[in-house]
Symmetry: C3
Subunit: 269 residues, 3 copies
């Protein structure tokens, strides 16, 4: 069966750089499924790319290769990595892109270079084309990760936004604003100490505080009343704040880094 | 030969949700052609998605599966559908997305759920991933649509913009503004009671009235003079209003829902 | 092995026209790799598309078919082309799109039409769907280019931006502004008469003049100091002007067509 390679970059879709990487891959392996995750990561925003990978990778087949290039340090001394974790492979710069996959399970990181595949000197501006794509293609073709280079015991990790217990409940932060203006938080579904409400009946035992507002926890977008902002567990398995038919980010004036508290509905704000 | 699945959503291309659906599909069927129709449908704009499907689907091979997710009612009581029509399959929410394929021919609609493929409880926010993609993958792999669930005799239909005969000729409306600012109308090529003019000679016997202007009917974009607005039959087989090198929507101040009349050049406006 | 077809257009990604072309291709050949180069070429900007093809095509496998549709003259008398050059194929309107592949090597250009594949009358607005996609599919399936139609000895060529020697050094121009605001020039790596500097040591013997500024030539983005504008050889093998973490185009007020000079660091500006 064909291998699968996903691609995640901040290259945008106007310039032909993503296509160029695919051309390089297809010169190595022709029978492969190439899947774009996103190329609209904000330029140089490593955290946004790591969140995208964390949300999407678990839904891909075993042995999928995730090629990720958000690489402000290209051409500098930063290392290049191939990582084996959770039955998948990850290829990209060693700058924290793969932080979510370095927790909770075994992993093995290898330092790669053009020597991993007998290539010549790479350019100093486009390692996606010159190092990462050729290595991803070889992994998809079944080349073992171990032989690609020396082990890296200490891959770079990002400060990773989480939820923290406080006396009132849980505190987290907004980590991402999506296309609809939904505010995605650092609080994961499993952390929330109460069930969501379905519709307007059976109110949840939790409320969510953000910028002085106290919001209901509901089950899905359709449970939100017109004009209301509410919280729910979204598609990435994270608590998010949403409004119906409008951008919660714009309407509430909330953005990345703003604090969010989950607390019992009985306790005051 | 590999099956073909098209994808049409309002998810945008910044978040990894389209990629996530593709991962789910590839876990079921690996030898498949995945084709994006568009992910830039305006959020929750079911009519725009139905028009995109109507324009593109006829050019795909028999047995293509069209996966469409514009789903403001996700997690509510709205049904989920697999539809067989015109030798193709359509999978998505039962909210009118497939209206163009419920006219003019036999069809069969089936209510689907995670029970269609032995899956567990879906999320309440992402049925594209949890119901529609797994069903689309199975249809592409050759699973018969009939066994997926109970028949739906009354799928939801949109009010579908058409052209209506009036004493002067035909009246229709602008249904879409494309990337170039061309104004796409509800009037189909076959409805127009006159041939287009080629170039500046052999004027058409029809004129097109919109916001107080009377426009020529020409054969192609290159027939339009600089600064002129004119009408022609566009790529979707619909009458459209265009200007050369500029946006007709912006220049004329015309948009979706505005009225368009096709009449004989002899009659006054 | 599956053939490879790349797609380059100015269609954007909101309307389903790219997907429609892919549907047409898949009706002819199912076992094929379809790769988007870009669909965000500025409307009717033939030069931008030619630059994208020039940058990406060399990284694709032999016999790749490059389907390119930036076609302001669709429906007029402009010819339609299939071009064989550098071991690849190119299909699109005869308007200069393939200029970079008509230099430095043998090529053969063929005039194509629906007669090339026994098709009927094309629409007058969408030859991408009606002529170019069907021909590209046949080339990917192994149909020889020679049999598709008569030879074209004089395909249209664009005025192609280059670098010219002057007494101080080399003069060229800005040909493109990329997503990051980098200013891509007409000066190619091989034209530059000096090595780039690595980091802040070992200054290059060249400086680059643009809008009254004299910039350093460095090795990669990470060599640029915060707030500095500098020049480097970018991913397309062209000299470009970049700032770190900001748009050089916006900060310097420079754009397409502006003049750039490369000169010895010893000479005055």
């Amino acid at each position: 069966v064909p291998g699968v390679i996903t691609l995640t970059t901040d290259f945008g879709q106007r310039d032909p750089w993503v296509g160029t990487m695919k051309g390089v891959i297809l010169r190595v392996v022709r029978d492969v499924q190439l899947v774009d995750l996103t190329h609209e990561i904000a330029p140089h925003d490593i955290t946004e790319a790591a969140l995208a990978l964390e949300a999407a990778a678990p839904f891909f087949p075993d042995r999928t290769v995730h090629l990720a290039v958000v690489d402000p340090g290209v051409g500098s001394q930063r290392r290049a990595l191939a990582l084996s974790a959770r039955g998948h492979f990850f290829v990209g710069p060693d700058n924290g892109l793969f932080t979510p996959f370095l927790e909770g399970g075994a992993w093995r990181a290898i330092e790669i270079s053009t020597a991993s595949f007998g290539g010549g000197e790479p350019s100093r501006t486009f390692h996606g084309r010159d190092i990462f794509a050729p290595v991803a293609a070889r992994l998809a073709a079944g080349v073992p990760v171990e032989g690609l280079g020396p082990d890296v015991p200490d891959p770079v990790r990002l400060r990773w936004p989480v939820a923290t217990s406080i006396s009132e409940g849980l505190v987290g932060e907004i980590v991402h604003v999506d296309r609809f203006g939904n505010l995605i938080t650092s609080i994961r579904a499993g952390d929330v100490p109460c069930a969501a409400a379905g519709g307007t009946h059976a109110p949840s035992t939790c409320v969510i505080d953000v910028v002085g507002l106290s919001l209901r926890l509901v089950g899905t977008y359709a449970d939100i009343a017109p004009g209301e902002a509410a919280a729910l567990v979204g598609s990435a398995g994270r608590l998010e704040i949403s409004m119906r038919g409008t951008s919660a980010a714009a309407a509430l004036g909330v953005g990345r880094g703003d604090r969010v508290i989950v607390r019992s509905a009985q306790a005051g704000p």
